[in-house]
């Protein structure tokens, strides 16, 4: 485990960020758009999973929407997807989120692999853990694993009236057994990373695998947005 470089961020900026940000907002899903429609899958296995677990996917979306308002689910961002390049019809319950954050300057000083590590440690692990907790899905033999796709504004882009924003994106897919071992602390983070399918993108440019480190980060479960309370009946 490493020191958390994100701890220095000004989390108070999140309020301003979520209210002001938004050059990366295009493509964010409204609630009815967040879940991949059944007719967009091309295999019966995927269609079946999407139909069977529709309720759990809605529940997952609502949990993100109400409990993690600094994350925005992308359009069709939740579904039983197949990572590009996989030949077998392996289905991963996946979520693609855009992360709203205000950079206080320190994030931009980190090299790309540290930014990716920080984002995965803070948001990726928590989202994977939440997906594992959805009723019935982890135990379904047709679900091969879980995936997270995290996008955020690349530091230094999108400033000024003529600067086009660029997002950095991490996509990581992991099989169920490996993630289970990792959660149970029976598998070192380095081995988890070795077994994961991961790719990093700078805008649309594929950077391939970057060295990924994982450390403890409880932000998602401890941070409170000032003035905001999730609905009383929402379990976070």
């Amino acid at each position: 485990m490493r020191d958390n470089p994100l701890a220095r961020w000004s989390v108070s900026g999140l309020v301003a960020l979520t209210l002001l940000l938004a050059t990366t907002g295009a493509g964010l899903a409204r609630p009815e758009e967040a879940i991949t429609p059944v007719d967009q899958y091309n295999t019966s296995k995927a269609k079946s999973l999407a139909s069977t677990y529709r309720g759990q996917l809605v529940q997952f979306y609502e949990q993100i929407y109400h409990c993690l308002p600094w994350l925005g689910v992308m359009k069709n961002g939740i579904g039983f997807r197949q990572p590009r390049g996989v030949e077998a019809d392996d289905r991963y319950l996946s979520v693609w989120v855009n992360i709203d954050q205000m950079d206080d300057g320190s994030f931009g000083t980190l090299p790309a692999e540290r930014r990716v590590s920080a984002m995965f440690s803070r948001y990726g692990v928590d989202l994977l853990r939440r997906m594992v907790g959805l009723s019935g899905i982890a135990g379904d033999a047709n679900v091969h694993g879980f995936g997270v796709v995290l996008s955020w504004l690349k530091p230094g882009t999108g400033r000024g009236p003529s600067a086009q924003p660029v997002t950095e994106t991490l996509a990581l897919f992991i099989d169920k057994a490996t993630f289970g071992e990792f959660l149970a602390k029976r598998l070192p983070a380095a081995e988890f990373v070795n077994r994961a399918r991961l790719s990093v993108f700078d805008g649309r440019e594929a950077l391939g695998r970057l060295p990924l480190e994982i450390w403890e980060d409880t932000f998602n479960t401890t941070f409170k947005l000032k003035g905001y309370e999730p609905p009383r009946d929402q379990k976070c």
């Binding site: 309020v15 209210l19 050059t23 590009r84 996509a171």
Partner: protein, 87 residues
């Protein structure tokens, strides 16, 4: 007369240069959001809260609205779903 021709040429030239750089995706984005400035809901949020930021009341819809009311003329360069998934 000559100045009109020059002006027309300039306009056509500018349109061509700007249009030539825009992909069909650019135009779709532009057509879908024909205003540059956020308004409406964001204003309501400001009115509901004290100007000094004290006693803020943030509804989930405020956050979502603010996300959507952005500078649509420029959108982020982002990886496409096809680069990550196959269905």
């Amino acid at each position: 007369m000559r100045s009109r021709v020059i002006r027309a040429t300039l306009i056509v030239g500018v349109l061509f240069l700007t249009g030539a750089c825009a992909t069909s995706e650019d135009w779709r984005e532009w057509r879908g959001h024909n205003t540059h400035f956020a308004s409406g809901e964001h204003g309501f949020f400001s009115l509901r809260n004290n100007k000094d930021g004290s006693n803020p009341k943030v509804y989930r819809s405020d956050i979502e609205d603010a996300r959507r009311q952005n500078w649509w003329g420029l959108y982020a360069i982002r990886v496409t779903p096809e680069q990550i998934f196959q269905n």
